[in-house]
């Protein structure tokens, strides 16, 4: 069953284009020039219930605008859109009751309150019955192992801990769809992995449809069977994630952190993207990635603090 459906969805922004300098500012008081920016262009997307879909694209590609339209925050300029049978921008209560949004860089939480108080507030906002609230809270708190964080102020949580709480708050009312915008941004490898495991579990055990936008290919690769690539507001790929990486991934990015300053030998087919005393970032042809990784682990096993592979 299709839970998200759009056809020829388009969003155009109008923005004021100010001429340079003070004279330009004064001129702008009387005569303004506007330019039109097409953020999402004739976009068709169909998502089935229970799917875990990745939305990939460079900055400014239109991913966030698309998510904003799907959640009803902004209205489309033209085209057809339905999410769970609702027109999102009507923002009907029954619609908002059935989805949740988690934004990596913006918070839904109340920084002055404790986590427990925040959860209770969301319980009332979503009208969750007491037994269901307790059951869900215990389930997620257990899954994340965050029992000891329940009675501390949200503002004292680390970024990783806060993100876990954001996810718990978002899932407390059993949403049918979860929109995730960069949920692992800025997190360390351990917290990122915990969040990925959690999301996988939620998708599989609860059947929650998840739409994930992320710049970390690891997130997309591990979680999403299907990926949609967006660029310049248009869909340029919609299909299996494995196929996407197989066909289009030419290289991998390898980030190595050293405990001490080191002058490593870098094979000539690798491109050095960043080099510091304790950090090396390489772009390696996909077929050689494993070989390079193995050689680094073999040579400086004790010096490696963290390894991260990126597309």
């Amino acid at each position: 069953m299709k839970i998200i459906e759009t056809e020829n969805l388009t969003k155009k922004y109008k923005r004021y284009k100010k001429q340079e300098g003070l004279a330009g500012s004064i001129k702008g008081l009387f005569h303004r020039k506007y330019e039109e920016k097409i953020a999402v262009d004739d976009f068709d997307i169909h998502v089935n219930e229970g799917e875990f879909v990745g939305l990939i694209g460079p900055n400014g590609a239109g991913k966030t605008t698309l998510v904003k339209m799907l959640t009803g925050i902004i209205a489309p300029t033209s085209g057809r859109i339905q999410v769970m049978g609702f027109y999102p921008n009507k923002l009907e209560k029954a619609f908002k009751q059935q989805y949740a949004v988690v934004m990596g860089q913006k918070s839904q939480l109340f920084f002055e309150l404790t986590t427990e108080d925040t959860l209770r507030l969301f319980k009332e906002i979503y009208g969750i019955p007491e037994d269901e609230y307790k059951r869900n809270k215990d389930f997620f708190v257990d899954l994340f192992q965050v029992q000891e964080l329940m009675n501390v102020q949200v503002r004292t949580l680390s970024l990783g801990e806060r993100m876990k709480m954001e996810l718990i708050v978002a899932l407390l009312h059993n949403p049918k769809i979860l929109f995730l915008d960069e949920p692992t941004i800025g997190l360390d490898a351990v917290a990122g992995k915990q969040i990925r495991t959690f999301l996988k579990d939620v998708n599989e055990s609860r059947g929650t449809t998840i739409l994930l936008t992320s710049h970390y290919m690891e997130d997309i690769k591990v979680l999403c069977k299907r990926s949609i690539v967006v660029n310049h507001g248009r869909k340029i790929y919609d299909g299996g994630t494995e196929l996407l990486f197989e066909n289009y991934q030419k290289s991998k990015r390898l980030t190595i952190y050293f405990e001490h300053s080191i002058e490593p030998d870098v094979p000539e087919y690798c491109r050095v993207l960043e080099k510091k005393d304790d950090k090396l970032v390489l772009e390696i042809p996909k077929q050689n990635a494993e070989k390079v990784l193995e050689s680094f682990i073999g040579i400086i096993r004790s010096g490696i603090l963290e390894l991260r592979k990126k597309k």
Binding site: Y13, T64, V67, K68, T71, G72, I73, I74, A75, N89, L91, K93, K96, Q97, Y99, A100, V101, M103, Q105, K106, S107, Q108, F110, E112, L113, D117, T118, R120, L121, F122, E124, I125, Y126, G127, Q153, D181
Partner: protein, 264 residues
């Protein structure tokens, strides 16, 4: 309704987190009483009455009105809304199943409830300790009208500031509207020019505006003055609240469609 009560409770709890703010609130209430006592003692030297009020009535009026004035913190709503609408974080209120108007009013109620409680206790205690003669009416009708007027007045100010906040969607910059509101409010309450200096037709006209009923009239009612204006005041203020409840809903529904928001 329960969700809005919980929102109010959450914001009240959030106020309690800041211990220094709590203590400063108590100290301010005390300072206010002492300051009023000293000031009016000097002004009343050799006089029985000023502007028709004796010393106890004047000091009671001053303390009640400044207590009400201190409660009214709704300007924070428009400031917060305009900031969030401009940086894109307002969307967090749009995606949860609450009416944004109700949310902000409940938030304000929670903050007020905290200040009101602390302020009332401190004021009561200091009146008692210093044996300050507190003049108040025993007329139940006036007490009831005054109390309802206080609630409606605070509600009106919250609704007005919410309305100004929504205007950000259309105008992006609302400081001019906030300035007009502040000046109009100060003018009507007599803070700029004493109302007695204005022509009668002008002061009569001001009685149709809501600001007159936010702090001035309820303070007068509590000390047993202006009885004849009590019911009219409630009607005028009630009508203003209704108008803004509807206006806010219509404006929000109409203007949010144009909201593009920055970021998400």
């Amino acid at each position: 309704m329960k969700k809005y009560l919980e929102i109010a409770k959450a914001y009240m709890k959030a106020q309690l987190i800041w211990r220094s703010d709590t203590f400063v609130d108590v100290i301010l209430s005390v300072a206010k009483i002492l300051f009023a006592w000293i000031l009016w003692s000097i002004l009343f030297e050799g006089k029985e009455q000023i502007a028709g009020l004796g010393f106890p009535a004047m000091i009671s009026y001053y303390i009640i009105s400044s207590y009400l004035f201190q409660l009214e913190k709704s300007a924070e709503i428009s400031r917060q809304m305009t900031g969030m609408l401009r940086n894109g974080t307002f969307s967090k209120y749009m995606v949860i199943p609450v009416q944004t108007q109700g949310y902000f009013v409940a938030m304000e109620a929670g903050k007020i409830a905290f200040s009101a409680g602390i302020g009332f206790l401190a004021t009561f205690l200091w009146f008692y300790l210093f044996r300050i003669p507190f003049v108040h009416t025993a007329n139940r009708k006036l007490l009831l009208c005054g109390s309802i007027m206080v609630v409606l007045g605070l509600l009106f100010m919250a609704l007005l500031n919410y309305f100004l906040g929504i205007l950000t969607v259309k105008f992006e910059e609302i400081s001019i509207f906030l300035m007009i509101k502040d000046n109009l409010s100060a003018f009507v309450t007599g803070a700029v020019i004493p109302l007695a200096l204005l022509p009668e037709w002008m002061t009569a006209g001001m009685r149709f505006l809501p600001f007159y009923y936010v702090t001035y009239l309820p303070s007068m009612l509590f000390i047993g003055k202006c009885e004849e204006e009590a019911v009219t005041g409630l009607i005028v203020l009630g009508v203003w609240c209704m108008v803004f409840l509807v206006l806010n809903q219509v404006t929000y529904e109409h203007d949010r469609i144009k909201y593009d928001g920055a970021g998400i």
